[in-house]
């Protein structure tokens, strides 16, 4: 029988070791694996390389792992919301590799699709292109960008089932299904966990074959970086 369901974030992440390369889903604070991040902080695993579009804020998301100095390197597209991050970066405690957002997303997909590399025009002529192979197709120049290798991918979904099938909600989908396909071991935390057969097969975003462990998360804070509203007329 499929044994993908684990009790909680601690059980799901217990074999993540120092120096691991982990991918973390989410865009800003939207759709981040809150429970797993908390578990990693409590476990105290060190020298992590984190592949994540952003680096959280000072006291939430990946910012929590930065505060405790558990991160050796961030691979991200935008890291600009975090004072502690800036301090560690400027002091040389933290390494950062910046990657265009579409390249980051597509390199995750490449891993999940068994494609060793992809071509993208993003970054041609910029410092991102330094040291990279470029190639022309139909008169346009592209960079060769390699699929990611990581030890673990940790994602957050709205609904999941015992087979590891995942459904995401609204823009919390973002990088989550891409990273779910890209982990050597993929861990999914979900708001709602169902028996196999309870989700509609047409509505599944990530087929369970890509997910190794799944658990029902709890106490989601779902913090919002910028609450922008309009007034009722």
């Amino acid at each position: 029988m499929l044994k993908k369901i684990v009790a909680n974030a601690f059980e799901a992440t217990q074999d993540i070791q120092d120096n691991a390369v982990i991918m973390l889903g989410g865009f800003g604070l939207c759709g981040i694996p809150e429970n797993s991040i908390t578990a990693l902080v409590k476990m105290g695993v060190k020298n992590l390389t984190c592949i994540s579009n952003n680096a959280g804020v000072d006291d939430f998301g990946i910012g929590l792992l930065l505060k405790t100095r558990q991160v050796k390197k961030m691979i991200s597209s935008y890291v600009g919301e975090n004072a502690e991050f800036e301090r560690q970066l400027l002091s040389g405690e933290l390494e950062v590799e910046l990657i265009p957002q579409g390249t980051l997303a597509t390199r995750c997909m490449a891993t999940g699709y068994g494609m060793p590399a992809i071509f993208t025009p993003a970054g041609v002529g910029t410092e991102v292109a330094i040291g990279k192979e470029s190639r022309e197709f139909d008169g346009k120049t592209y960079l060769l960008e390699h699929a990611f290798k990581s030890d673990f991918a940790i994602v957050k979904a709205w609904k999941g089932d015992a087979h590891g099938n995942l459904i995401f909600r609204a823009t919390s989908r973002n990088f989550n299904p891409l990273m779910a396909m890209a982990g050597k071991i993929t861990i999914a935390e979900v708001e709602e966990l169902y028996e196999a057969g309870e989700l509609n097969p047409d509505e599944i975003h990530t087929p369970g074959i890509y997910v190794n462990r799944i658990f029902k998360g709890s106490n989601y804070e779902k913090r919002i970086e910028q609450v922008t509203t309009r007034l009722k007329a």
Partner: protein, 218 residues
């Protein structure tokens, strides 16, 4: 001279019915407020949303529903969600008709710099490099000069480049400029701004052909 709302208003005149549009953070986001009533424009957010609606009412705020600027938004009729790879797939494959973004510098050959200032904390390029490398029609919305009063319409960018030869049009508080092979072609002056003043504030090659009309913002 235009304020930021005026710049957004002027750019909104470039929108055509049925356009798919990606609006960057800052002035570009304001363009959404000036879409003419008689046309339909669909806004793309590169985190994974087609059909951005207005900001939510306070009781509608949804942490799972944000735009690429991490602001809470809503959907509209016909919206769809997708992952970020498909989102940049749309951008790379040329499905987005118009991209509007801000810049620190634009060069007369269409180069753009908008992601990094050497010596300052680098926050990252986000989706900007993907957008400028792929979009078929890019309009830059920005102030004409920087805080030191120096022109941002240059012969050559001095800051690290975001993308090469990609900008098609620039709208500043002083005017509208098409990027043509020879440089910045002044198309329209902002209200009460003289050609001479624009000349003075533009370092890159400025092309003046015939009488330059003052823009009409209804």
């Amino acid at each position: 001279m235009l304020d930021k709302f005026g710049i957004a208003k002027r750019i909104a005149k470039e929108l055509q019915d049925g356009y798919y549009v990606n609006l960057g953070i800052g002035i570009p986001t304001l363009v959404a407020n000036y879409v003419p009533n008689n046309i339909e424009v669909i806004l793309q957010s590169e985190n994974g949303l087609l059909g951005i609606g207005p900001f939510p009412y306070a009781d509608e705020v949804d942490a799972d529903l944000i735009n690429a600027g991490k602001q809470t938004v809503t959907t509209t009729h016909g919206s769809s969600f997708f992952d970020s790879a498909m989102s940049f797939g749309m951008i790379r494959s040329g499905r987005v008709d118009l991209t509007v973004l801000g810049a620190m510098e634009v060069a007369e050959n269409g180069d753009i710099a908008n992601w990094k200032i050497p010596g300052k904390m680098v926050k990252g390029m986000g989706g900007a490099m993907d957008l400028v490398a792929s979009a078929k029609n890019i309009i830059v919305a920005m102030q004409h000069v920087n805080k030191a009063g120096e022109s941002k319409l240059l012969k050559r960018c001095s800051l690290p480049i975001t993308g090469l030869g990609c900008v098609k049009k620039v709208v500043t508080e002083l005017g509208v400029f098409d990027i043509v092979p020879e440089g910045f072609k002044l198309i329209e002056r902002a209200p009460a701004v003289s050609v001479d003043y624009i000349k003075e504030k533009t370092e890159g090659n400025l092309i003046l052909e015939g009488d330059i009309p003052e823009m009409i913002l209804d």
